[in-house]
């Protein structure tokens, strides 16, 4: 045992301390496991340190396939146009549409408002013409910028920051000017995330250090209240539309799932035991519907469920095949959100970064459309014209047409590279969010 610790322990507790110490001593690492893991680590290290060769080998196959695919598309297009005269020429159409989308985005004609990204304990906002990201708190006065939340009107950005284990919320406007702390002297523990109330007047927060407690606070930093729940919370609660209860992913003494509780912690109700992710549920903008993704491990499928709050009627609007059983290798769902008009939902589904994909589903049913592979953290723009997502350390935008999609849209627009961040964090902590301009743009036809 650490002698420093032993010396500081009162005599009464030393027998227990010795018992813990001797228990620890019996925990031996299995030699085969130790050897096997070392081998794996060294192999991974070796792969990492051969960038030139690895890069060359990795790039050649996709480039070859891309060239082949392009040739195929051109050949097909040429054949169709040869057989059906009168169609506009293939040479000008596709690029002009693409440029048109890009130009409209960069000029702020569509998909207005800044995009905020939380990545690797850093938060950034897109610049004026959306060609890059501006890092907030570049001087790193705040230790870790863990997450972000736009106010309901999209005008204020709340950034959840932690400095030496103490959390606070920092506010800025849509230009990303100086972050200001909401609490002048925070005594809260390490904060994971926060959410706004629908009227923009309250925050709700939670800390992993004590995950049976949530904190409520006015947006100006006054009236901090601690609510003790008789259960654990695994992710940030969201306010229900009436503002009188919260919905969250957590666990009671029997099982985990999606729960609802009154603001004083009473009247806990289990909505679904099959929800497995803190961002796997979302309220529609008008508050009339709650959507959530159930992971049915017995049937081996994921179900997107929409519940009408007024009637309590639940409808399964989309299904995706999963796998049966349990374990960390199973696919998971995350980052579910609605479009403002309540017609579309987007979410991600899959395992690691490479086999994860972004999907679009329609509230009136139908097969969900896989919009992007190897992608995560989807976010719909306020006008419903764009879907932003992260793929391969870059942020992309997809042009969403007004009519329902049945297949992926045109090539995505590369918005900008992801900022590097402060430390490598789990990609599951990545988050994108759209703010609003002062006059929100209407949906383009």
């Amino acid at each position: 045992m650490n002698k420093e610790i032993l010396n500081q322990i009162p005599a009464d507790e030393q027998p227990i301390a010795s018992k813990l110490d001797s228990a620890a001593e019996t925990m031996k690492v299995p030699p085969t496991f130790e050897w096997k893991l070392e081998t794996q680590l060294m192999n991974v290290y070796k792969t990492k340190t051969q960038p030139v060769h690895g890069w060359y080998i990795k790039i050649i196959r996709p480039v070859g396939w891309a060239i082949l695919a392009l040739c195929g598309v051109f050949l097909l297009s040429w054949t169709i146009r040869y057989l059906i005269p009168g169609l506009p020429s293939a040479a000008g159409e596709s690029p002009s549409q693409n440029i048109s989308f890009e130009a409209r985005v960069r000029a702020g004609k569509i998909c207005t408002g800044p995009v905020a990204v939380a990545h690797n304990f850093s938060v950034s906002l897109t610049n004026q013409d959306k060609t890059g990201f501006v890092i907030l708190d570049e001087q790193e006065n705040i230790g870790e910028l863990r997450s972000l939340a736009w106010s309901p009107n999209g005008q204020q950005l709340a950034v959840i920051g932690n400095t030496t284990g103490s959390g606070n919320i920092y506010l800025t406007d849509s230009t990303g000017d100086q972050l200001r702390p909401v609490l002048p002297n925070s005594e809260l523990g390490y904060l994971m995330d926060a959410a706004w109330s629908r009227d923009g007047k309250l925050f709700i927060m939670w800390s992993a250090q004590n995950n049976t407690v949530v904190y409520l606070m006015n947006a100006d930093g006054t009236g901090l209240v601690e609510i003790q729940l008789d259960m654990q919370i695994f992710a940030t609660p969201q306010f229900a539309p009436d503002g009188e209860s919260i919905v969250f992913y957590g666990a009671d003494s029997s099982s985990s799932g999606l729960f609802e509780a009154k603001l004083d912690g009473s009247q806990i109700r289990k909505i679904s035991p099959l929800v497995e992710d803190g961002s796997g549920f979302a309220w529609s903008q008008d508050g009339s519907r709650l959507a959530y993704i159930e992971m049915d491990r017995d049937l081996g499928e994921a179900r997107l469920v929409v519940e009408e709050i007024a009637t309590g009627i639940k409808s399964v609007i989309a299904k995706l095949p999963g796998r049966k059983g349990s374990g960390s290798w199973l696919p998971e769902s995350a980052n579910l959100s609605w479009s403002l008009d309540g017609k579309m939902l987007t979410f991600e589904f899959g395992g690691s970064t490479t086999d994860r994909a972004v999907y679009l589903a329609y509230a009136d049913g139908g097969v969900p459309v896989k919009l992007a592979s190897s992608a995560h953290a989807p976010a719909l723009s306020a006008d419903g014209n764009c879907l932003a997502y992260i793929s391969d350390k870059q942020v992309f935008l997809l042009d969403l047409p007004g009519t329902p999609l049945t297949s992926p849209t045109a090539m995505p627009l590369l918005l900008a590279d992801l900022p590097i961040g402060r430390a490598i964090a789990d990609f599951r902590l990545d988050k994108l969010g759209w703010g609003s301009e002062k006059t929100p743009a209407s949906k383009q036809p």
Partner: protein
Amino acid sequence: MTTLMTIQTQYPLMDDARLAHQARADPEAFAELYHRHITSVYRYHLAHTGNDKDAEDLTSQTFMAALEGIRSYRGTGSYAAWLMGIASRKRARFFRRSGDRPEVPLDAALHVPTPSLPTDKAAYQRLQMDQILGALRNISRDRAEALILCFFSGLSMLEAGLVLGKSEGAVKMLISRGLQDLRTRTSLALEVDYE
């Protein structure tokens, strides 16, 4: 493959921070760090999960993440605390995902490798471990976490404070109260011989 025999002689006196810096470009330096800390990480995960399979899985994830992020370790703080911070996040994620299953199947899955011990002694050790891990689960999470970091992973109170985001004094208090809880609130006290 880098072997323990070669690295032990190569880096006998180098501290963790210098080794971590060197490990950015030198696999053997990383292997040395791995051997120095694998027991701490494994014990940490075993104390939390109670079964060797999950402990091995989480230990692998922890070191893979450490390898990926070795450049982000700036050498200004304790490497052990940095590594256990990764372990702590992996553990949190594990329990977040498996919130609906019992944390510890305290039965034969508990791994106490004692090939050289007589069977009755090995069984006794298993029983002891069962009681201790069960008792840790019956006290508050932050106190249990502080006890596990200091007793099972061998961190100092200062290092445990870095992992927990608390001051050294706060960790001391957590440990003191955690031990007190174990003594007064759990059946563990009955097993301790107070002389």
